[in-house]
């Protein structure tokens, strides 16, 4: 726990409640994210993961409580956030090139109706290089695979030179191999950028992140990578195979020859 002493908090969520109409989605959320953290938030669908991200981005207003980003209000502080949205089915016909998608990350902090400066172009090229997509920069976004598109969205988030990267289910609907590539990439990015990520894919998350939190209306986060039984009970009604976590284990049933050996 002493590792946090010399680190600056980048996100401070205090006593945040969020409700839609009469239904409470988030209850008394407290979470402090420190510089260079890599937090994976897991939890069931409908547990409020996406809602929490929306509150952090100012897409919805908490009913009570406060959120500070880099010590500023959400509307100002989100300038320091690079946001990677959940993979969504979109119009594949949409006429936009990879390079133009990445350029979106720069739009907020610059004057409109000006051409991009050379420096800005370099930022975009560099972001594309970081995610290994420089070669496809002139491709229409609809022609990319799910994993490639996810990398483009990460590049887009990186162009604003963010302190924090916020990811919503970055590996939903990509195959496990591609997920591995994306997580490796995030691990590399984490050397300079704080990452907060939500996912329901606990096994994948746990092998890459530094700390894990659980969210099911309430937040269970102890700043460690351990998922306690108490957290699990809070989150899943059904038992989850904690033993398999991080250990090699058998997935397939034994071969018949092995069965004979036993007999």
């Amino acid at each position: 726990m002493d590792k946090q002493i010399d680190k600056q908090p980048v996100i401070e969520i205090k006593n945040v409640w969020v409700s839609y109409d009469t239904q409470t989605v988030l209850e008394d959320i407290n979470l402090t994210v420190y510089e260079s953290d890599f937090i994976g938030l897991i939890g069931p669908n409908g547990g409020g993961k996406t809602t929490l991200l929306k509150a952090l981005l100012g897409l919805l207003e908490p009913s009570s409580g406060s959120i500070r980003i880099m010590g500023k209000s959400v509307a100002e502080g989100r300038c320091h956030i690079g946001y990677v949205p959940q993979y969504i089915e979109f119009d594949r016909q949409f006429p936009i090139r990879v390079w133009e998608v990445v350029q979106m990350g720069l739009l907020g902090c610059r004057k409109p109706f000006t051409r991009l400066s050379t420096a800005e172009r370099e930022v975009i090229d560099y972001a594309l290089e970081q995610v290994d997509m420089a070669g496809l920069s002139q491709r229409p976004i609809g022609e990319l695979s799910g994993g490639q598109r996810q990398r483009v969205y990460i590049a887009r988030a990186l162009t604003s030179n963010p302190q924090i990267l916020l990811l919503d289910e970055p590996t939903a609907s990509v195959d496990p191999q591609v997920a591995g590539i994306i997580y490796d990439l995030l691990k590399r990015i984490n050397q300079s950028v704080t990452i907060l990520m939500v996912s329901h894919d606990m096994n994948a998350v746990s092998s890459y992140v530094k700390t894990i939190g659980c969210l099911n209306r309430r937040m269970h986060y102890h700043g460690s990578k351990e998922v306690t039984q108490e957290m699990m009970n809070a989150i899943y009604e059904c038992p989850i195979d904690l033993i398999a976590h991080g250990l090699p284990h058998r997935v397939l049933s034994p071969h018949e020859s092995e069965g004979e050996n036993h007999a």
Binding site: L57, G58, L59, A75, R78, C79, I81, Y83, P85, F90, D91, Q93, F94, P95, I96, R97, E100, V101, Q103, M104, G105, L107, G108, C109, P112, F113, P140, G142, E143, R156, S160
Partner: protein
């Protein structure tokens, strides 16, 4: 064949065709990629209220239409942004009310109203020079605003949430866009009539979108297609003695279906060659 260019009204018609094609190619591209075709239809019909008001007050109906279409654009645009799912119902209501207001105003206006049908079905052959000047001004406004906000408009069209998060003024830009749609609708109404405004706003970009995946090229190709459709339609209507607006639309419509089928054919052939290569 070229004798038709000797008539002043024909030259005006062709000029109007070119002017409207620029607006429709550019704004139509946004309409198609943002899927606001229905909203555009609503604006067109609400603008009819302005035509009625123009007659009632004895001013140029186009001015009334511009005022009404801008009002309708702002109203419907805000409804579209704020209410989410059921916005199409409210747009439908405004659509009908705008139209009804126009008819009531016309009932109350004294005098001769023969020109009225020209707003429903278009009157490209009777475009006065004053309307050409209004169109030219509107075109300049559209070109300048789209050039200034090209990146931002592309961003809000593609991923509105992300644009909002990086502090792009999404709401203001969106309302600006629907106002531009409103202005374009008023212009197009002169050519093909308000009932068929949507056709010229959607078909050229829809065809262009089949073949190019770059927004600037999509706009450029839409403009060229739109000019082609109005010219061919105009010539056909002249020689076959048909209603010009409807002929232009049918030319566009036939081209749309041909390109759609042609594109599918191309894709199938491509797939076949791909599978063949894999098998080999």
């Amino acid at each position: 064949m070229l004798e038709i260019f000797q008539y002043g009204f024909m030259r005006n018609a062709l000029a109007a065709g070119v002017l409207v094609s620029f607006a429709c190619g550019i704004i139509g591209t946004y309409v198609v990629i943002n899927r606001i075709v229905f909203l555009s239809g609503g604006i067109a019909h609400a603008a009819y209220g302005g035509i009625g008001l123009g007659y009632f007050l004895g001013i140029n109906p186009i001015i009334g239409a511009i005022v009404f279409s801008l009002g309708a654009s702002l109203g419907m645009g805000m409804v579209h942004r704020k209410t989410g799912e059921r916005s199409d119902t409210i747009i439908g209501v405004m659509w009908a009310i705008g139209m009804a207001i126009g008819i009531i105003f016309l009932d109350m206006s004294p005098g001769y109203k023969a020109d009225l049908m020209s707003y429903l079905f278009g009157s490209i052959l009777a475009v006065p020079t004053s309307d050409l000047i209004i169109m030219l001004v509107l075109n300049v406004v559209i070109l300048v605003l789209v050039a200034l906000y090209y990146k931002e408009l592309q961003a809000i069209s593609f991923d509105e949430t992300f644009a909002f998060v990086v502090n792009v003024p999404v709401n203001r830009l969106y309302l600006m866009l629907v106002c531009l749609v409103g202005l374009t609708v008023v212009m197009t109404m002169r050519i093909v009539g308000l009932i068929m405004v949507i056709a010229l706003l959607t078909m050229p970009p829809a065809i262009a979108g089949l073949f190019v995946k770059d927004m600037k090229r999509m706009m450029g190709l839409s403009i060229l297609l739109s000019i082609l459709f109005t010219f061919v339609g105009l010539l056909l209507s002249y020689y076959l003695n048909l209603t010009s607006g409807a002929t232009i639309i049918l030319v566009a419509g036939v081209s749309y279906f041909i390109s759609f089928m042609g594109k599918n054919q191309l894709r199938n052939r491509k797939k076949k060659t791909e599978t063949n290569t894999v098998e080999a």
